[in-house]
């Protein structure tokens, strides 16, 4: 029953019996808390409170934790991004507020709260006010099925990954609402680009997931993690990972796919007119999606909370997420933005065929080895993925063609020393 899935759930009696060591508490922190609250309320006992009350309390507490992971994580991810961007750019980054600038998020939050909340006179005021909520709430919903450790997802949904994709797609409505209701042409352009980008990248995103789903045979995120017993999925699914991570950066509107914000073109795109706490909500949604998707990437491809060492699962997961976040920030600091039509072409002509190839290859492998994929498939898969990417790039003519700068061979006007043709730049064409 879906309602029952919404609670952290009392563990069945005897689940932890015989293990009362302190490290057991550390490792199974989240299930332990849920279990203790459940027992504290007298669950499983005769005459105890009804199950729905326990579900309600546990669900509420669990939601509180997860919402706070999103809401309190965002300022620190923003700080991490600013610090790292600073380092990438030969700067120091924020370091004035608190030690190493650690209190910068607090200062930012205070600043945003005290800022004037401006609504443009010509805006559709109700939609304008609702848009940040319509954007941020679905994104926080995506945190529900993420397994933070063993038996520690807020909602162990049977449709876990489908749920994540569905709610993040629904967040797109918030972007339109913002873009349309602002009554600003930049916002409108941003919203239109959002439509185009979403339609183009949703498909490779979902299709590249299917490889993982085929391997695990389930959509349930906890089971997908448990399925990666021997090696993380990135080794079995390098091509799927490649397509997924690119499609995710488009879904997240991160560089080089940040067309809908595109500061140098559209000022801030769909949230140009937002200020104060409404802007903070938009920002919360964007960065919560970043955190959420790094957790999803870690779960699907990097074996989630599982790790080779005896370290609590949630620490493994957060470590992997931190790596993915840093990779996203690195890309943002390095790569220029693509043009909207180039991005469309890239999504439809490059990523979509690759993701379909990936599905077929994975299906063939799963049929050939129904029990478990042999290890010798790993190098073959990696080589296959490389060959597919390079081959597809060659097929579409993506070759870095540079150009020489000519220094004319004839005497330049007024020049007494003849010019020369020098191979001043490396590279052909």
């Amino acid at each position: 029953m879906a309602v029952s899935a919404l609670a952290t759930g009392c563990q069945p009696p005897g689940f932890f019996d015989g293990q009362n060591l302190w490290h057991e508490w550390v490792v199974n922190f989240f299930p332990r808390i849920g279990d203790s609250i459940c027992r504290g309320m007298g669950g499983h006992a005769d005459g105890g409170p009804p199950n729905w009350l326990i579900y309600l309390v546990l669900g509420f507490l669990g939601s509180l934790i997860v919402v706070n992971i999103a809401a309190l994580g965002v300022p620190f991810v923003v700080l991490l991004e600013r610090k790292l961007l600073g380092r990438f750019q030969n700067r120091i980054g924020p370091n004035r507020v608190g030690p190493f600038g650690l209190l910068q998020p607090v200062a930012d939050a205070l600043k945003l709260m005290t800022k004037e909340d401006i609504t443009p006179a010509a805006a559709d005021k109700i939609v304008f006010a609702l848009a940040p909520l319509a954007f941020a709430i679905p994104i926080i919903l995506m945190f529900a099925p993420i397994p933070w450790a063993d038996h520690a997802s807020l909602a162990n949904l049977d449709i876990g990954i489908l749920w994540v994709i569905a709610v993040t797609t629904a967040a797109e409505a918030g972007i339109f609402m913002a873009g349309w209701s602002s009554n600003n042409k930049y916002s409108l352009f941003g919203a239109m680009r959002a439509v185009a980008l979403l339609v183009s990248y949703e498909i490779p995103l979902v299709l590249s997931l299917l490889g993982v789903v085929l391997l695990a045979g389930t959509l349930n995120l906890s089971e997908i993690v448990l399925d990666q017993r021997f090696a993380p999925n990135i080794l079995w699914q390098p091509l799927g990972f490649f397509v997924f991570i690119i499609a995710v950066s488009a879904e997240l509107n991160r560089a080089p796919f940040d067309q809908l914000e595109a500061e140098s073109e559209l000022v801030s795109g769909f949230h140009t007119e937002y200020s104060g706490m409404k802007w903070a909500m938009v920002q919360l949604g964007e960065y919560a999606a970043l955190i959420g998707f790094s957790a999803i990437i870690a779960t699907l491809f990097l074996s989630g909370w599982k790790g080779p060492l005896w370290i609590p699962g949630y620490i493994w997961l957060v470590t992997k997420m931190a790596f993915i976040l840093c990779a996203f920030i690195w890309v943002r600091a390095t790569i220029p933005r693509m043009r909207i039509d180039q991005i469309m072409a890239f999504g439809w002509k490059f990523l979509l065929p690759l993701s379909i190839i990936n599905i077929f290859a994975t299906a063939a492998e799963v049929i050939a080895f129904p029990d478990a994929l042999p290890y010798w498939l790993i190098p073959i898969n990696i080589a296959f993925a490389g060959a597919c990417v390079v081959g597809m790039a060659k097929l579409l003519g993506f070759q870095p063609k540079t150009r020489k700068i000519v220094i004319p061979g004839r005497p330049v006007i007024g020049d007494d020393t003849p010019g020369r043709i020098v191979p001043l730049m490396r590279g052909g064409n």
């Binding site: 352009f189 933005r337 700068i405 000519v406 220094i407 330049v412 006007i413």
Partner: protein, 367 residues
């Protein structure tokens, strides 16, 4: 089947993250494609030409600093050459070398900023810009040693320069000239073969050779279109006839060519600086002139190859201590004259990069 569409007018600027100052464009869009462009200037008009009529010839140098505030030395040089031509005098040899070094350093600095903001417009989130700021900082340190200022130097005077180079200047300059090629290589490695940069710039904003000549463009924007025209070669002033350097010229005049031409010009500027360092003689740094200059009646026009193009000052003297008329040929302004031809048919994103690749400065456009 045709879809009925309705174009919209979008006002870009004067407050916009990538209009390089207070530039305003009214653009007629069909979807994201540009149909018509109407540039609007004048938001930064300070009346420099009129103000010059009430200043003495030496005071006007401070006004020139504020034209293209990213290339103040070149402005100083152009003005001082014009006054010298008006008075029929020449600066001492050492001053000429100093001024050439300064002008070339200024060109490097200005190109660094031009490239940095161009890449910023491409959406490379400030990283190349910050790298380029790092080197520009070194050039500003050099200028600070010589003039005491970092943006508005007012270093040159009619008949020479304000002060001789301090003793620590030449070692610092030598160090810079040794380091800088490595940095330029670094930019190239980072950007030149970047797939996204190439798809964004190649073939975008093509300015054909004939159109560029007819639009009387100058500077890197003209050379990128394949015209080897440079006043340093065509009408050598100062010591340019004594140094060797090459003119990098583009092939088709797109954004990528303009990007590459600027990168290469920085290398050539360094070459000039190194030769000047070797050839520089000792001696006076300023001609012996009275405090108040009173050029004879007449007029003179002197031009230099500034970082953005041909920068010229036309001065008319009535024999008094102030010019009767001072007219400025601002390269940024004239380089913008073909904006419409370059922009129509491209998308918003390309519009931003094309405008960025022209590397104009509103302080100079509006004067």
């Amino acid at each position: 089947m045709t879809l009925k569409t309705e174009p919209i007018i979008v006002n870009i600027g004067p407050q916009h993250p990538s209009t390089h100052g207070v530039f305003r464009l009214r653009i007629l869009f069909d979807g994201e494609v540009i149909h018509d462009v109407e540039p609007v200037f004048g938001y930064l008009h300070r009346g420099s030409e009129k103000l010059a009529e009430e200043r003495t010839y030496t005071q006007i140098v401070t006004l020139t600093d504020r034209l293209d505030y990213l290339a103040a030395m070149s402005n100083n040089l152009s003005y001082c050459l014009s006054v010298e031509k008006l008075m029929g005098i020449e600066a001492p040899e050492r001053a000429k070398y100093i001024r050439t070094i300064m002008a070339e350093l200024m060109r490097i600095s200005s190109h660094l900023m031009g490239l940095g903001f161009f890449l910023q417009d491409l959406g490379a989130f400030a990283t190349p810009l910050m790298y380029m700021f790092r080197e520009r900082e070194k050039i500003m340190d050099l200028f600070e040693m010589a003039s005491g200022a970092r943006i508005t130097y007012t270093y040159m005077r009619p008949g020479g320069v304000n002060d001789d180079l301090p003793p620590e200047f030449m070692p610092a300059l030598r160090k810079f000239a040794d380091e800088m090629p490595g940095y330029i290589d670094e930019y190239e490695r980072l950007l030149r073969e970047n797939e996204i940069l190439i798809t964004r710039t190649k073939g975008v904003g093509v300015l054909p050779r004939d159109l560029a000549i007819n639009g009387s463009l100058s500077g890197p924007a003209l050379r990128a279109s394949g015209v080897p025209w440079d006043l340093r070669k065509a009408d050598p002033y100062e010591v340019y006839s004594r140094v060797q350097f090459d003119l990098p010229v583009g092939q088709i005049g797109d954004n990528y060519d303009r990007f590459l031409v600027r990168l290469e010009e920085m290398r050539q500027s360094l070459r000039i600086v190194r030769q000047c360092m070797q050839q520089m003689p000792a001696g006076p740094f300023r001609a012996d002139l009275p405090m108040l200059l009173r050029p004879p009646k007449g007029d003179a026009y002197a031009h230099v190859e500034g970082p953005k193009g041909e920068l010229g000052f036309y001065l008319v003297s009535d024999g008094s201590i102030s010019p009767y008329r001072c007219a400025i040929r601002a390269p940024s302004f004239i380089n913008l004259s073909l904006l419409k031809e370059m922009l129509v048919g491209w998308k918003i994103a390309d519009m931003i990069t094309i405008v960025g690749s022209l590397d104009f400065n509103m302080g100079e456009v509006d004067r």
